[in-house]
């Protein structure tokens, strides 16, 4: 018998302990399979825990580690980073393997696969997905004078393109004006994916479909920034949103002091229910709370949602690519993935999971899966992380009153062109 040690690089992430955990469990299944095949090999997974704060730091650290040839056999990453690894030849191209193991990979949502692709092929295996949305407080809206029908129909109106971004601001404004609530719309106070949804709504795709290079369109940027600018001017988005603590923001929303909260579905499971005691029963929840997708910029436009899949990537230089692929295949098994999904309120990757009673019981997942239809991804560009930092700085500039929307767009373009490579500006 021969034990093959496979190293898995994983960030210490309380939001997903089963991402590496499932791989460890998968080893057992693979070993049984190997035993059955009569293979002498047995797999042991060694988890390398990275204490990085956030996926961006983690990816940068891992790139360095690969740079000196100390990389693991496989790693967990945010999908937008995979091309950075691919460009430098650290990631294994997976198209052939995926085709070879349909029992593992065949049913994964095709849309998720697109988040695992670089220009020349597939380089990762989707591990999970989620949905980002605008949560809203129905009670406050009703207090502000909107009738229940209006409030309850908002999700459908959004999906049909009838509710617009600016209407959200108007509703929020009314809430701020007419109720005791202090805030209209709150968003995360650090660099991250959710607010990109707003940019997506205004048509920013950030990547040139032909070349795969970063693409910045001044007018669309300015339009998106304009929404933030109007929000701040109306007193709907607080000028100090980016200075607040994450938990303080949540507290404001869940304790009824804000109309909208732009974040992701897992927040219900990890914070809203346990910490702020929002009703865990589906009907009770939707009586006072709800969520909408990212609305269209103007009536009749398309709404958006954003998902930010986490993926498994295999190192190009692993000695056992075949075994590693099979291992990750087992880790992607529907039951294991559902474990992850229901405990951390993330979305599954396979349609089978929807049948799982546990999944159905976790109604937020089931309900949010609808959004996958309109969901978008961050571009899989190696430099997107940097660009996002610049965009975030632009938002800070607007919210703190230092920049106008147009200036923010100019700032992003200028900053990106001078510090990033191959940026196409339109």
């Amino acid at each position: 018998q021969e034990t093959v040690k496979l190293e898995l690089w994983s960030r210490q992430d309380p939001s997903g302990p089963l991402r590496p955990g499932n791989v460890v469990k998968a080893a057992e299944r693979l070993n049984k399979e190997l035993e059955a095949e009569g293979s002498p090999k047995r797999v042991e997974v060694v988890v390398r825990e990275s204490p990085a704060k956030g996926f961006d730091d983690d990816a940068l650290q891992l790139l360095k580690v690969f740079g000196v040839g100390e990389g693991p056999d496989m790693f967990i990453a945010a999908h937008e980073w995979i091309c950075a690894f691919q460009e430098d030849g650290f990631a294994l191209k997976l198209d052939d393997y995926i085709a070879k193991y349909p029992q593992h990979f065949g049913t994964i949502f095709p849309s998720l696969w697109s988040s695992a692709k670089c220009p020349d092929g597939t380089y990762a295996i989707p591990q999970d997905a989620e949905a980002r949305m605008f949560f809203y407080n129905k009670k406050l809206l009703r207090e502000a004078g909107y009738d229940a029908a209006f409030v309850d129909s908002m999700p459908e109106r959004t999906l049909s393109g009838d509710l617009t971004m600016d209407e959200v601001l108007d509703i929020a404004k009314k809430v701020v004006d007419k109720t005791k609530a202090q805030y209209g719309v709150l968003h995360r106070p650090n660099k991250g994916p959710d607010y990109i949804m707003v940019f997506n709504a205004y048509g920013n795709e950030f990547v040139d479909p032909q070349s795969g290079k970063l693409l910045l369109e001044r007018d669309k940027l300015a339009a998106a920034f304009g929404w933030f600018e109007r929000g701040v001017k109306n007193g709907v988005i607080p000028a100090n949103n980016t200075a607040m603590e994450f938990d303080a923001l949540r507290k404001e929303f869940y304790s009824g002091n804000a109309a909208f909260w732009m974040y992701g579905i897992w927040d219900l499971g990890s914070v809203a229910f346990p910490t702020y005691g929002l009703p865990q029963d589906e009907r009770a929840f939707f009586a006072d709370w709800g969520w909408i997708a990212g609305p269209a910029p103007k009536k009749g436009g398309s709404p958006v949602s954003l998902t930010h899949p986490i993926v498994y990537v295999i190192a190009a230089d692993t000695k056992e690519p075949e075994l590693t692929v099979r291992l990750l295949g087992h880790a992607s098994a529907a039951d294991l993935n559902t474990d992850h999904a229901v405990t951390t309120t993330h979305l599954g990757i396979k349609p089978e999971q929807l049948e799982d009673p546990r999944y159905a019981k976790a109604w937020p997942l089931a309900r949010a899966t609808e959004l996958l239809k309109i969901t978008k991804f961050l571009p899989n560009n190696a430099q997107f992380g940097d660009l996002n930092g610049i965009i975030y700085a632009g938002m800070q500039g607007i919210e703190s009153g230092r920049l106008s929307a147009q200036q923010a767009a100019d700032f992003v373009i200028e900053e990106a062109s001078s510090t990033l490579e191959d940026v196409i500006v339109k």
Binding site: S10, Q12, D13, P14, S15, P17, L18, P20, G21, N22, V24, K25, V47, R48, E49, S50, P51, A52, K53, Q61, K64, V65, V68, E70, E245, F246, D247, R250, K251, W266, D267, G269, S270, V271, F273, P274, T275, D339, V342, T343, T344, T345
Partner: protein, 366 residues
């Protein structure tokens, strides 16, 4: 003494009469005002520091919901502030030692009872769960469902051990190396002495944190990447200039004649260093040991960057981790970890406070 005109006598006669009583009253007033102003000022500027730390402690021992609340802080302050004032007053007003003890005992008793009644019911140790339940995060989150097979929740004792190891080893090396170098710099004539001292200052002008990538490469080349020794040696190198500077000051202050005595008594300079000079700079050694330890204790960037395979948890990273707020933070636990994190440095600090105050630079006065 040469016979001189006496310039004094002329004016001395016209000296105005002095109102001694008025002067005494004025002096008494001035003395009291001065003391009051000084204490008021110092208390005012110290409160902003004491308050947050006190808050941290009250949250750690009282928070139940995981939200940072101040109710217990203010309740405790309502007990502590009058108690401190009462202590002060009883110390100032006591006429004898006996009265002093009675006063202090009374105040202490009242304070303890008041504290027990007002704050006591709110206190609990639940937030220190991480000490005995390494998997506490999953316990805390069991409200979302059981998380099984989580391989990755770090153990606080592991982090604690690593931090102690890094900080302790690094302190020992820095103290040893810096003492040797500072002694030589302070007491030996050699070519390049002045430029050596100057380069210590110049090294201080180097932005250490921007050298991480060269360091990373460097450690990789010499095979120390991913070892604790690598991290420790890097920390040592960056701490050395400051430590040498301070130690040199202490060595400068050691009287020359005891070293001369040791030499004529038959010691070599090395022996004199060890048996006579070193014991005189004990305070300095303690001072830099404390500073160096704290520096190693709080280190996170190097640990994070240079340890890539080992399970490299340190207290700083642990603290980071419990604070990670993407999924919501339990401030009670964060505070408890903070208190736990602060304890070793506080103990060290209390023990060495006296010595820290004796730091001076270069032994040069004025």
């Amino acid at each position: 003494m040469a016979a001189q005109a006496i310039p004094m006598a002329s004016t001395a006669a016209s000296e105005p009469t002095v109102d001694w009583d008025a002067l005494a009253t004025r002096a008494r007033l001035a003395r009291r005002t001065k003391a009051t102003v000084l204490y008021a000022f110092l208390i005012a500027v110290s409160l902003p520091i004491i308050l947050p730390y006190f808050w941290l402690v009250t949250i750690a021992f009282s928070a139940k919901t995981g939200v940072a609340e101040t109710a217990v802080l203010w309740r405790s302050m309502a007990v502590v502030v009058p108690a401190v004032i009462a202590f002060w007053l009883s110390a100032a007003l006591a006429q004898s030692r006996r009265q002093l003890w009675i006063g202090i005992a009374t105040v202490a008793a009242i304070a303890v009872i008041a504290f027990g009644l007002l704050v006591g019911p709110h206190l609990h140790l639940g937030n220190f769960i991480f000490l005995w339940e390494p998997d506490f995060a999953s316990v805390v989150r069991s409200r979302v469902g059981e998380v099984k097979g989580a391989v990755q929740f770090p153990n606080v004792w592991h982090a604690f051990g690593n931090s102690i190891l890094i900080a302790g080893t690094q302190t020992v090396i820095v103290v040893t190396v810096a003492s040797l170098a500072a002694y030589y710099l302070s007491r030996f004539q050699f070519p390049g002495r002045s430029s050596m001292l100057r380069s210590l200052l110049v090294l201080h002008a180097f932005p250490v944190l921007t050298l991480i990538v060269p360091m990373f490469l460097m450690l990789y080349w010499i095979g120390l990447l991913d070892t604790l020794s690598g991290v420790i040696l890097v920390l040592v190198a960056f701490e050395l200039p400051f430590a040498i500077f301070i130690m040199k000051g202490f060595f400068d202050a050691v009287p020359w004649d005891i070293e001369m005595s040791a030499l004529t008594d038959g010691a070599s300079r090395r022996q004199a260093f060890v048996s006579v000079v070193l014991p005189q700079v004990r305070n300095g050694i303690l001072a830099i040991a404390v500073f160096t330890f704290i520096r190693g204790w709080e280190e996170y960037i190097f640990v994070f960057t240079f340890l890539i395979r080992n399970s490299n948890w340190t207290m700083s990273l642990y603290m980071y981790w419990v604070r990670d707020d993407v999924m919501g933070v339990d401030y009670g636990v964060v505070s408890a970890v903070g208190v736990f994190y602060l304890v070793p440095s506080l103990i060290l600090y209390m023990a060495a406070q006296r010595y820290l105050m004796q730091m001076s630079i270069g032994g040069v006065k004025g």
